[in-house]
């Protein structure tokens, strides 16, 4: 824009929602009302909240599949509230709640859809498709010519993610992308996706029902109440350590203190003496405190030796862990 209005967001803000509201025709209440938030460049933001609280509606207003009743949307410093929606959407990856692979197109055609819309040449599209299938852990030689119905649910969701990444969009909207998958595969997909995000650093808005998924994946989590009331928008550690109100507390559920251990890394714990030689367990700085604690309990010892990450070895006690966990209040991980 040539004439920046006072509310033009600063450059580190990738998505700004300002007073965003939606009332569907014929409804007496807003599905989303007066929602404002800033999402930073490269940030992984997770929306959680009960069914019907307006998560999907909010997501679909960002790519204008739903036209807002009020409010404005900025993406990458540009007010996109009134731009051509088709062009806008080619710059935003979207993984829809129901996967939505196109059944009469092969995996390669599904993944290559946005690049085709963007007018890439054939060779470039083919390379991109293979690269993306590799990225989401599907062997291109095996999968590129299959049809969606020849894939398992988990494979379909990977293709859905690959397809959303195809045009290399800076922004990704993901609506419960791991929703229909068994817990074990889901856990693995989450881990893979976190690793992937470390490499590609997209700005991601991710919707889930599952608070544990949110705590695991999000840089920040937006917890919604009814009517898209934003109950708290903070880091996982802040939400576990300092829930904004009783609603958030009940939403997070019991065991907040224990779950916090899963967010802390051994590297976050200061101190430690020289390693003793007696039967301590060995962990790395990358282990979560939760995993380290589990190892200690399993082998019935109260000491561990931390190695790796070039820091040299140090030893920590059970007491060090518990004190550190109790102290960690709302620091970023």
């Amino acid at each position: 824009m040539t004439d920046p209005t006072p509310s033009t967001p600063p450059p580190d803000v990738m998505i700004r929602l300002e007073g965003l509201a939606k009332r569907y025709p014929g409804q007496s209440a807003d599905a989303v009302s007066a929602l404002s938030m800033d999402i930073r460049r490269g940030e992984f933001v997770v929306f959680v909240g009960p069914s019907g609280c307006g998560k999907t509606t909010t997501l679909r207003m960002i790519n204008r599949l739903v036209e807002p009743s009020a409010g404005r949307i900025w993406i990458d410093g540009e007010d996109v509230t009134d731009v051509d929606p088709d062009r806008l959407r080619r710059r935003i990856g979207y993984v829809i709640q129901q996967i939505g692979l196109i059944p009469h197109m092969t995996v390669a055609q599904n993944v290559g859809l946005v690049p085709r819309l963007l007018g890439w040449d054939k060779a470039r599209i083919r390379d991109r498709v293979d690269e993306l299938l590799d990225l989401v852990g599907l062997d291109p030689a095996v999968f590129r010519d299959r049809y969606p119905k020849q894939l398992s649910g988990g494979q379909q969701q990977r293709v859905g993610v690959a397809r959303a990444l195809a045009g290399d969009p800076p922004v990704m909207l993901m609506d419960e992308p791991f929703g229909a998958i068994d817990p074990i595969t889901r856990d693995r997909l989450q881990d893979e996706f976190l690793k992937l995000q470390e490499r590609i650093r997209k700005t991601i808005v991710f919707v889930t029902h599952d608070i544990d998924e949110a705590l695991k994946l999000g840089d920040r989590i937006a917890i919604f109440g009814e009517g898209s009331r934003l109950a708290q928008f903070a880091t996982p550690l802040e939400i576990l350590s300092a829930p904004a109100d009783d609603y958030v507390r009940s939403f997070v559920g019991s065991g907040a203190a224990i779950r916090r251990l899963g967010l802390l890394r051994v590297a976050d714990i200061p101190g430690g003496g020289t390693p003793p030689s007696d039967g301590a367990v060995r962990v790395t700085e990358d282990h979560t405190v939760y995993a380290a604690l589990e190892k200690m309990l399993e082998s019935g010892t109260d000491r561990m030796v931390v190695g790796g990450n070039g820091r040299g070895e140090r030893s920590l006690t059970l007491r060090d862990l518990l004190l550190a966990a109790a102290r960690a209040k709302g620091e970023p991980r």
Partner: protein, 250 residues
């Protein structure tokens, strides 16, 4: 979906091998065999000369081809228009009207048109189109409506325009149901075209009519058998087309 929409031929019924064309060929061969050996009087001999039979058959096929082509050109775009969001309110009344139209006996439509306007090939085609448009219209609408919303949504979400979504997603996925409707129209037309003789448009119906008028059983039978054989062949060909056009991956 309303109750009216549920009356439809299942999409993608498998082609029953070579049974249909085999039956058709057997029927025709048997008929010619009989005509060859039977003693025909002069009226029968005149009406059943091979040239005559061939001419009537060609007339019939032309009627069916022309009317079915016209039906597709009219009913498919109309069905597409009526399933667009802006025409949502129009869809139900149009279908109801078309359903009511279907209840009028085809001979009535033909005779009415012949009385009101004129006789001849064009008039017969118009009557056939009016009659066979409904199954194509209805199946086009049903075929488009049963396309999974989430697939359309995904297309829109990736930045496909409404037209691109229609051409690349909706129509290919609706093809099996649409072709099932066209198949019904074809079969209907083969049958109803026998009535075209009343508008002086010829066809196999004129054999049947002459058979009745002159009380000549062989003539009546020949017209009927050829109509049945033609219907079987057309149904078989439509089934093959359906298999070829059905998108892969479904």
């Amino acid at each position: 979906m309303s109750a009216a929409d549920t009356v439809t031929v299942e999409a993608g019924a498998p082609v029953r091998g070579w049974a249909l064309p085999a039956i058709a060929v057997t029927l025709v061969a048997g008929m010619f065999g009989y005509l060859h050996t039977a003693h025909l009087d002069s009226i029968e001999a005149r009406l059943l000369a091979t040239d005559e039979i061939l001419a009537r058959t060609v007339e019939h096929v032309r009627l069916v081809a022309a009317s079915t082509a016209a039906v597709i050109v009219i009913a498919v775009p109309l069905g597409v228009l009526l399933t667009r969001r802006r025409a949502r309110l129009l869809a139900a009344p149009v279908l109801a009207l078309a359903n009511a139209g279907q209840a009028i006996p085809s001979i009535g439509v033909l005779v009415l048109l012949a009385i009101l306007f004129d006789v001849g090939f064009a008039m017969a085609v118009i009557a056939l189109v009016a009659y066979a448009a409904l199954p194509v219209l209805r199946n086009t609408m049903i075929g488009l409506r049963q396309v999974d919303r989430s697939v359309i949504d995904a297309g829109r979400g990736m930045g496909m325009s409404p037209l691109q979504v229609l051409l690349k997603i909706e129509l290919p996925l609706a093809v099996p149901v649409m072709i099932a409707g066209i198949r019904i129209a074809l079969i209907l037309n083969v049958g109803v075209a026998t009535l075209a003789t009343y508008t002086n448009a010829g066809g196999l119906g004129s054999l049947i009519e002459s058979g009745i008028v002159f009380n000549r059983m062989p003539v009546l039978m020949t017209g009927s058998v050829l109509t049945v054989a033609l219907a079987l062949l057309v149904d078989w060909l439509a089934g093959l087309t359906e298999q070829v056009l059905r998108p892969r991956g479904l």
